[in-house]
């Protein structure tokens, strides 16, 4: 068993070394990376969405104070992550977008990621000004309805983005083993 773990570690080192994520140089017309809005990561870095290009992204919209649907969304995304496996870390990333940017500060997003045990080399959590979030949400078909208690109703739909930011697959349902999204991600990443 110990030997196996050792081999696994060495292999994963290889997997990490052999590849780098190369952001794309020309953005297709129908790419979400055409959006010019500025976003803040959980590490408090300001980026454009196009800075995330170069690998397939599984995208979900949540807010950290949400107790109803959001933990399910994150759990679903982790199921997909498990299905895709560790070796394709640089081919497929996971993106959470906050729909509650006033409360979801970078610190709040980072501690949420810790709490949910999300690997920062694979997962990114973003927030932006409400109109910029609304634009992205609307392009993804995610409805966001503010509720009187300060929380939100929102769609649970997840998206697979190609390395250049095109919507490749969307579904509100993740199959039990995450296979429907893992398969779509593999196709989008072209590493069959």
């Amino acid at each position: 068993m110990r030997k196996f773990i050792l081999i696994l570690c060495v292999l994963s080192l290889f997997a990490q070394c052999k590849k780098e994520i190369h952001p794309i140089t020309s953005i297709p017309d129908d790419s979400l990376y055409q959006l010019d809005s500025e976003w803040k990561t959980q590490k408090n870095t300001v980026i454009h969405l196009r800075d995330l290009s170069g690998r397939v992204l599984i995208v979900g919209l949540i807010f950290t104070r949400c107790t109803a649907i959001c933990p399910t969304i994150v759990a679903d995304m982790k199921t997909i992550e498990k299905n895709i496996g560790w070796f394709h870390k640089d081919d497929v990333g996971f993106l959470l977008v906050s729909i509650d940017p006033t409360r979801d500060t970078p610190e709040a997003m980072r501690s949420y990621m810790k709490k949910m045990n999300l690997d920062e080399s694979r997962w990114t959590f973003l927030q932006a000004k409400p109109p910029d979030v609304a634009d992205l949400a609307s392009l993804l078909g995610v409805k966001i309805s503010p509720l009187p208690d300060g929380s939100f109703s929102h769609s649970r739909i997840l998206t697979v983005l190609s390395p250049s930011g095109q919507i490749k697959f969307q579904d509100p349902r993740v199959s039990e083993d995450g296979a429907n999204f893992a398969e779509a991600a593999r196709q989008a990443a072209d590493f069959h």
Partner: protein, 249 residues
């Protein structure tokens, strides 16, 4: 009070009146309270605002395109306007002559917003639009026209929409019903089914689930508007979807 003081005072009043003057082609919609169609949304206070009396026409949109060539048909990026953008236009920068005074349609929300911003305006919010559209020629809020609206929604539209400026309501605003559907700023903010809580599906929208949330069962026309909006994304275009702009008081 001295004469000089009085003059200053009246000048100040005049300046105030001038600054509050209604912009050309717009109507003032007085403040009020609006009950959204779905009862799970609380009544909303609407501040007084200005709204274009008519939808933006093809002729007006052409002026915008001349000043903003990046929005020309063929130049606008797909993510901001889908393949149907300005479908009715024959070539970049021209539309059928008879359509000059018809509302511009096949327009994305990004494009509509860019136009309004360029005019120093903005898109109305959903609450503002519905509140202003609730008026008939003599009342601020009515559902008497429900049947007429439904008949219009039901009709299969085959041709292009006709000219603007047909029927005006209490606010002097034309054709909020009867010509085309219109973009609003926060069209994406209404969940027809509460899928985040219940895990329901969009199917509920057309079955009992959606209508059970309705604040007013008689207002089926409003239900259809909400259902239509919920099918949109901000880069979508449709030959029956146009827009008009709003401005703060």
């Amino acid at each position: 009070m001295s004469a000089a003081r009085l003059t200053v005072l009246s000048l100040a009043l005049l300046a105030f009146e001038l600054s509050a003057a209604t912009p050309d082609g717009m109507s003032f919609v007085p403040p009020g309270v609006f009950q959204p169609f779905f009862k799970n949304i609380a009544p909303q206070k609407v501040r007084g605002f200005y709204l274009d009396q008519t939808q933006v026409t093809n002729a007006e949109y052409l002026i915008f395109l001349k000043a903003n060539p990046s929005w020309e048909k063929g130049s606008a990026k797909r993510i901001f306007a889908d393949a149907g953008y300005l479908r009715g236009w024959t070539s970049p920068g021209s539309f059928p002559a008879e359509s000059a005074e018809a509302p511009v349609t096949d327009i994305s929300q990004f494009a509509a917003r860019a136009y309004c911003t360029w005019r120093g305006k903005r898109l109305p919010t959903l609450a503002e639009w519905e509140y202003a559209a609730g008026a008939d020629p003599s009342h601020p809020m009515t559902d008497a026209e429900n049947a007429r609206l439904l008949a219009w929604y039901e009709r299969n539209s085959t041709g292009r929409p006709g000219r603007v400026r047909n029927v005006s309501n209490l606010h002097g605003i034309y054709d909020m019903h009867g010509l085309v559907w219109e973009w609003v700023d926060d069209f994406n903010s209404v969940m027809i089914s509460d899928e985040s809580r219940e895990g329901g599906s969009d199917k509920q929208m057309f079955c009992g689930g959606g209508a059970a949330n309705a604040a007013d069962f008689r207002n089926y026309a409003a239900f259809m508007r909400y259902a239509f909006r919920s099918s949109l994304r901000s880069n979508f275009t449709s030959s029956s979807l146009g827009f008009r702009c709003a401005r703060n008081q």
